[in-house]
Amino acid sequence: MILRQCIGRPSAERDFCMSRFAAESGNGRIAYMLRVVSILFVLCFVAHTLSACTAPFRAKSRAPEGGCIYGGEVVIGITQEPGIFDPHTSVAAGDEEILFNIFEGLVKCTPSGEFVPALATDFTISDDAMTYTFTIRTGVIFHNGETMTPEDVVFSLSRAAGLETGIPLVSELSGIEAVEISGENEVRVILDAPDAELLPFFTAAIVPRFVSDFNDTPIGTGPFRFLSYRVCESVVLVRNNAYWQSGIPYLDKVTFKITTDMNTAFMQLRSGSIDIFPYLDPEKASQIRSDFQILSGESNLVHIFALNNRESPFDDPKVREAINYAIDRTELIRLLVDGEGTPIFSGMSPAMGTYYNASLENIFTYDPDRAIALLAEAGYPEGFEATVKVPSNYQHHVNAATVIADQLSRVGIDLSIVSVDWATWLSEVYSEREFQSTIIALTSDFAPRDVLSRYVSDAQNNFINYANPEYDAVFSRIQSEPDETERIKLYLKLQEFLADDSASVFFEDPRNIVAVSNELSGYVVYPIYVQDMSTVHYN
């Protein structure tokens, strides 16, 4: 359209004239605005429709209908990817917390740390502590429908102890020499050396003897059956309707949802896509106190600032002692876990009950002056520089390193923090023991021997390189000591050694804080790394 204003102009100008009008035509302005508005409107409409479409797929309530306490589904959040479903091979804590619901052993651990009969109805230990005899429960059915027989028990224990292959899968059972059927529904376990403390390790799973690959098809006797495992997503268990214990479990389905980190899991807790979350940070727990039940219990963890006894300057016991006085445990616990932790001073947590040496409490007070004096005596009047290697995937240890570095700077020790990933930590610190100091939380079975065996000088897991021949001598006496009271005295003595030599800085047992949805009851916190879903039910 040749505009009237431009007609009379010379041709070159005409072009220019029209292009100006083309760009700035008044009609265009309104059309332009309309265009913008309509596009935005369409976008909003589309977005709203799509989100309305997604409404039916949002979370429906997982509670059973009619207010019945039986039934329903629960989602529990875990932050470690499970790797192994074979109950004898799995050693990592993250696997065992799930497997506790699928498999059972002759005895079971209770929330108070006792070991009670499970698949065995009774047991006796011979006077010379060389023979354990178990009466096997009848009427127990495996998840595949087969009935559990004493042959299955023999098979399972032999497999766990590695009787055929020579390699014990459960290393604590390596002392077993033979397992045999000694009568109707009776199994006898014969050891190669007296050991009165083997009972806690008979939680080893009893599995059917004709199944070959347990990683693919985990079949046990527990309250829940394995349904599926989706990598990086979830492990789903369903109710075992043929469970031998009557009245439990309540739930139809349990989903262990794998979340990568604490913050994501926390958001899922708040949005309701997770019902239970254990090992919660105390500050996060305080944020949701009004919407959730917050339960806590002792974890039987030993949070340790580990000093490599073979690396200078930590090879000098005086230096290690100085550091024990330089650390303010109260402040550390307050800053790390908001006070939700118990201070410890030697290698065992008070969760272990009578085995814990309570006389060592406060043997190290916070005394920086004394620390400085001890350092001077050891030849470090100006302090020294050192490194602490922490696993970066555990925020608790990274935080602890920061606080400890600050506390040590007050006595002249310049501690620099080296953060490495988990695989590197396992390789460099734990296996090769190439480190000066590190921070980790030590877990163990609920057995005093398991807690303290790592400090024997030639122990495979003695990554702090503690070497005390007296300690070794006392430790080796325990296994053959028949009298329980005497054994307890020996355990107390071992803890004394660790404190007297300042083997490392043992500073806390952090409490395990669990957030549970208000719709649920029956969750119990265990002092071991398990999630017992058999007693959980909707209100």
Partner: protein
């Protein structure tokens, strides 16, 4: 045909080089997968037994060459951590990442084009400035901040979606698409910001050209001029930008997958690296290399379609 052969050769070279670099990284970095699987409480005997079972007693170089030989046959090996064939694991996670990628790219196209066109209409005026500022802000947001804010405001406060709820495609396809909707938005927003900029700039450059003035002076309406002339001719740099965006999204955006709890390829990759799972890492790296080369290949073809002067060489 020459072109395809050349491209295939380039693909093979890229893939081989990338796998070699991954192998070198594994060689240098400390860490034992058997120890990572069993954890610190395992005894040395248990670790050794597992190492033999997983084939870790063979040196890494041998295992690498075995893996390459297998890869030629289509067998990517078995994951050490998950005891499943690598190809099966990748195939499980692929639909997730690909769906997010497809939805994000679709959103980017649907939103960035109108915004770019509108912004180019009046360069320097209010709307253009507004889009420019907003674009800068959204582009500057780190993806995880965006994802967290979305989860907080849209998810927890406004309850438009359930944070962390992921429905697998094996359970329900519509639910699957629905649960990926908001993560796709989180991925798309920074991409919209950057591509809107490119579209706008490209259109403005094109608009200045003489033939557009001629078209307008001949009476063609603004709409026709835009869609028949300006846009098609300004597509070349836009296709380049989109191919870069696509190759990035196809690898999965890790932080979005983590915050929204989506089990995609990037989460699998991080898990396998942390676990020092050599076959799985090589397998995923292979997938990423192949995907990137394919994306650029498609971009080349599109370039030649849009601009006949560009020949496939």
């Amino acid at each position: 045909m020459n072109y395809f052969l050349k491209r295939t050769f380039q693909l093979l070279c890229t893939v081989f080089l990338v796998s070699l670099i991954t192998f070198a990284a594994f060689y240098v970095i400390p860490g034992d997968p058997a120890r990572v699987i069993l954890g610190p409480e395992a005894s040395d005997g248990q670790i050794d037994a597992l190492r033999v079972e997983l084939g870790l007693d063979k040196p890494l170089t041998t295992r690498y060459f075995e893996w390459i030989a297998g890869a030629f046959r289509g067998d990517l090996g078995r994951s050490l951590t998950f005891r499943q064939p690598v190809s099966r694991l990748i195939a499980q996670k692929l639909p997730v990442t690909l769906s997010i990628a497809a939805m994000s790219i679709l959103m980017t196209v649907l939103v960035a084009f109108p915004l770019g066109i509108v912004a180019s209409g009046r360069p320097g005026k209010f709307l253009d400035q507004l889009f420019s500022v907003l674009g800068h802000i959204f582009f500057a947001f780190p993806p995880f901040v965006l994802a967290l804010l979305m989860t907080l405001f849209l998810g927890l406060t406004l309850k438009l979606f359930v944070a962390g709820e992921y429905i697998s495609y094996t359970d329900s396809i519509p639910g699957f698409i629905a649960s990926l909707f908001y993560p796709s938005i989180a991925v798309a927003i920074p991409k919209i910001a950057i591509s809107q900029k490119f579209i706008r700039a490209s259109i403005i450059v094109e608009k200045e050209k003489d033939y557009i003035r001629t078209a307008k002076s001949h009476g063609l309406s603004d709409t026709k001029v835009m869609f028949r002339h300006i846009l098609p001719n300004s597509l070349v740099p836009i296709i380049t930008v989109f191919s870069i965006i696509a190759s990035e999204i196809l690898g999965g955006i890790l932080v979005v997958e983590m915050v929204f709890n989506i089990p995609g390829i990037s989460r699998l990759l991080i898990t396998s690296i942390n676990a020092r799972d050599f076959p799985l890492t090589e397998g995923i790296v292979l997938y990423l290399a192949v995907m990137t080369v394919i994306v650029y290949f498609i971009a080349d073809i599109l370039h030649s379609l849009v601009d006949p002067r560009i020949r496939l060489r």
